[in-house]
């Protein structure tokens, strides 16, 4: 790709390169992916920062997300108003955090937010039950779900309040060696 593109100003591209883990080429490629979701909504020219949001239904239909059981939570966490409708900034932020170059603590923070279904800044038992059901397609019996959730809280809860705070979660992530490579979406 040469230097001739009219979508962003050079300052905008520089800003995006500083604020995400993507190179110039990848940012332009991501912009085209964003635009392809709703060509009639998204203008071709972002130099004057238009305020455009793509609704959640279209975001959730992307091939990278369409079968992911957590796609709704991912979109809600990264969208500005928490309802899943994303601007280009949110879109770039989402894939930047989920790229392979993001550091462990940043990923752990967002993973915590994704698993926190009721947004109370703690992963409580009901959050764990919802996570487990999404992971196993509701195919575990309720007793098994209860048992596993209790075991998870037993293992990870350091301050003994019956739910996982962000610190408990990050403490646990330190000892999960595969986390960096699994909390990752390639686009």
């Amino acid at each position: 790709m040469g230097n001739k593109q009219t979508i962003f100003t050079p300052e905008q591209l520089d800003t995006y390169q500083d604020c995400t883990f993507f190179t110039r080429k990848e940012i332009l490629r991501l912009f085209h992916r964003y635009r392809d979701l709703a060509p009639q909504l998204v203008p071709d020219d972002y130099t004057n920062k238009p305020d455009v949001k793509i609704p959640y239904e279209l975001i959730g239909s992307m091939p990278e997300l369409k079968d992911n059981p957590f796609r709704q939570r991912i979109a809600e966490v990264f969208s500005e108003d928490g309802d899943g409708n994303m601007t280009l900034d949110d879109f770039l932020d989402m894939f930047s955090v989920l790229s392979e170059m993001a550091p462990r603590d940043l990923k752990a923070y967002y993973a915590f937010k994704i698993y926190d279904f009721n947004n109370d800044d703690y992963i409580c038992k009901s959050d764990l039950e919802k996570t487990l059901n999404k992971l196993t397609r509701n195919e575990l019996t309720p007793e098994e779900v209860c048992l596993v959730c209790e075991k998870v809280i037993d293992e990870a809860d350091v301050d003994n309040d019956g739910k996982l705070s962000l610190e408990d979660f990050q403490h646990m992530i330190v000892r999960a060696p595969d986390f960096l490579s699994t909390f990752h979406i390639r686009i």
């Binding site: 079968d67 059981p69 932020d93 603590d105 993973a111 947004n119 998870v152 990870a156 595969d178």
Partner: protein
């Protein structure tokens, strides 16, 4: 998004809001942040997307931790604002500081560009990404390991070609001065002419290629063809035997360093995750979902496998409780069954080793028979007998191990590990047995009649050029291993898939598609690599063959993965793999050193062939080269080789090792103390919260 209502005690007891990094650190910057500056943002802890991270704190964090803006936990808008403020501040800075900032920025841009360029050079990057996306990181780790070995073999080949093969070819073509070996007394030891006389039939040609005999024996492929060339121009001298020896040591060292560097990463990780069973459930629920996977079918399979694993874990808990309640009678029964089965396993292993030992001798005897010599198939079978026996043992015995371990009644994770350890032992020990029987044959250790070895120092009657014989055996092992993999893929995997797809009878569906069993496949390629390391000294072009072999295996395995296989029921964890298999690879490397070093230091080199003829030992080349150095260098090398240096060095290494062990254990204690302290602080926070309400 909600705020947390901060209790009154919060400001004193909050830790670093961004959590801790991989290593537990109480570094100065964290300590500096405790205190008054924190209070402005603790009210909004944890930072939410709408609430701004207070500016002072953000600036301090960015500067002291030296992290870029992209690491901040906030929305893109906020990051852009922070960046704009930083730019404005930078403009106000003095000349020197702004110059430093400019340099830092352009250096970052340069590094970005370089990393983009380097990404293009990575071999098979797209393939690995697709495999990881479809099947998960566990299976991807197998292919990454394969790629590492392809590169290692290729670099070894470059070393060998650059320093041994190409100079030999050049000196040969130029007809340069070559020292010829004299044969005064033992003229019998010097007869050696592997070149075929007269015209040959076509099948003999194929036979020679497959067995490395005939015309192949007298080529650059094998040790025997290299001559004791030593060239001495005015300003350039090159000693081929010395180069041969030094290159051997160099590529062994290179393999060791490269493997160790790769395994250090995995080792560090396994130190942090001290006990994987402690975090078993949290790992499986909160940290195991592979977000990479796109294919709906694979996602369904993955969900099913998570469900299966959780069920198995819950079962194991029940079984553990049952086991704990066993009476003494039951325990005695179980232990006696286990001892019996272990004896059976040992007996099976001994049986396999005996078969391997006999097969080398039988192979030679059969090849000398007249009835075998004329028949193509029989001769091929006789020549490949050791390879066939090893492959058969490595195929049948693991199946038997799988059966016996069910009766030993261990829990599942112990079962898997024990079977793996037994398979590793089987593979490496069977190779060791083959080498032992080969060396026994060459040094007449097995017969009472030692006359074949009297004249020439080795078994001249059966092997005129014993190094080439060893090289041929390794060559045959490599080819047979390659053929086995191809046959398994083409004649077993594909038909199995077709049968399962088209035949709907229950038995067949139960059998199911082939599982991509990563541990067994990794052991296969480690075995192949060990064979290559042993054989390179005796067959210098073996690394090239190995590179091509692994290259083709990559594509074949990828083909069979996508067409025929389903992911295994139990997820294979990449992190375990990386460390354990590199460790086994190092074990293979250690085993491969033994025969090579034994040949260099103890055995008599062949008289009629190779670059070390005429010498008593291969190592004499180095001694002679050292003697030709100036006095200072000579004294230095003699000192290093003497005991006055070796013994103090040994003691010094011991002291350093004990010091590091003490350091490691004291860090472990420190970590435990800090964890306990953290827990205490948190409980205190809760108590205070409750007290204030």
């Amino acid at each position: 998004m909600h705020r947390i209502e901060a209790g009154a005690g919060d400001s004193d007891y909050d830790t670093h809001p961004f959590g801790t990094d991989v290593m537990w650190q109480t570094n100065a910057s964290v300590l500096r942040h405790r205190g008054h500056e924190e209070q402005t943002w603790t009210e909004t802890f944890p930072p939410t997307r709408e609430n701004a991270l207070e500016n002072n704190w953000v600036d301090m964090w960015l500067q002291n931790e030296n992290r870029p803006i992209k690491d901040l936990y906030c929305s893109m808008q906020r990051k852009i604002e922070i960046r704009r403020k930083q730019e404005r501040k930078m403009k106000k800075k003095t000349g020197l500081e702004s110059w430093k900032e400019e340099k830092g920025r352009s250096w970052r841009k340069f590094r970005r560009k370089m990393s983009v360029v380097l990404q293009h050079l990575i071999l098979w990057k797209g393939s690995l990404q697709t495999i990881g996306g479809q099947f998960g990181t566990g299976i991807q780790s197998y292919f990454t390991f394969l790629r590492f070995l392809v590169l290692l073999n290729f670099v070894t080949f470059l070393l060998v070609a650059g320093f041994i093969v190409i100079p030999s070819i050049a000196f040969n073509e130029l007809g340069l001065n070559q020292t010829v070996s004299h044969s005064p007394n033992n003229s019998k030891c010097f007869e050696y002419n592997p070149n075929p006389q007269g015209l040959e039939r076509f099948y003999v040609f194929i036979m020679n290629i497959l067995m490395g005999t005939g015309f192949m024996e007298w080529t650059y492929m094998f040790y025997g063809y290299y001559k004791k060339t030593s060239v001495n121009f005015s300003n350039f001298s090159y000693n081929v035997p010395l180069a041969y020896l030094v290159t051997t040591l160099a590529y062994f060292l290179l393999s060791l360093l490269w493997t160790v560097i790769r395994s250090v990463q995995g080792f560090k990780q396994s130190l942090i995750t001290d006990d994987s069973s402690v975090n078993n459930y949290t790992d499986k629920v909160l940290a195991a979902w592979d977000f990479c996977i796109k294919d709906e079918k694979i996602i369904t399979l993955k969900q099913r496998s998570i469900r299966y694993e959780l069920k198995v874990d819950l079962e194991e808990e029940k079984i553990k409780r049952l086991h704990a309640q066993r009476t003494i009678c039951q325990r005695a029964g179980i232990y006696s069954v286990r001892i019996l089965l272990n004896l059976i396993v040992i007996a099976l292993l001994c049986g396999a080793f005996y078969c391997i030992y006999r097969s080398t001798q039988e192979s030679q005897l059969l090849l000398a028979l007249e009835s075998v010599k004329g028949n193509f198939i029989l001769e091929l079978l006789a020549g490949y007998l050791p390879s066939i026996v090893i492959t058969a043992a490595n195929f049948i015995l693991p199946l038997l191990f799988n059966i016996t371990i069910k009766w030993e009644q261990y829990i599942l994770s112990v079962e898997i590990r024990l079977t793996l350890v037994r398979c590793v032992f089987l593979r490496l020990a069977s190779l060791g047995m083959l080498l032992y029987s080969l060396w026994n044959n060459i040094t007449c250790g097995d017969t009472e009649n030692k006359t074949p070895c009297d004249n020439c120092g080795y078994n001249y009657v059966e092997n005129k050029c014993w190094e080439t014989r060893v090289g041929q055996e390794m060559y045959k092992l490599l080819i047979f291993d390659f053929l086995t993999v191809l046959v398994m893929i083409l004649l077993v995997d594909f038909p199995r898939k077709m049968i399962v797809d088209h035949c709907s009878c229950k038995l067949v569906q139960l059998w199911g598609q082939q599982e991509f069993v990563v541990p067994q496949f990794v052991l296969d390629i480690i075995y192949g690599q060990t064979v290559c390391w042993i054989g390179t000294f005796f067959c210098p072009l073996l690394p090239l063959l190995n590179t091509v072999k692994y290259f083709i295996i990559f594509y074949m395995k990828r083909l069979t993965l996508f067409s025929n296989c389903r992911p295994a029921d139990r997820t294979f964890r990449a992190s375990n793999a990386n460390f354990f298999f590199l460790l086994v690879l190092l074990l293979g490397l250690a085993i491969s050193w033994v025969p090579v070093l034994y040949s260099i230091f103890v055995m008599t080199p062949s008289k009629p062939c190779g670059p070390f003829r005429d010498q008593a030992f291969i190592w004499d080349t180095i001694s002679m080269a050292v003697e030709s150095l100036p006095k200072v260098a000579r004294n230095f090398f003699e000192f290093i080789a003497s005991q006055a240096f070796a013994i103090p060095l040994f003691f010094f290494s011991c002291i350093v090792m004990f010091y590091l062990m003490a350091l490691g254990s004291s860090y472990g204690k420190l970590v435990k103390t800090l964890k306990d302290q953290l827990q205490m602080e948190r409980s205190r926070k809760i108590l205070l919260n409750q007290a204030y309400q």
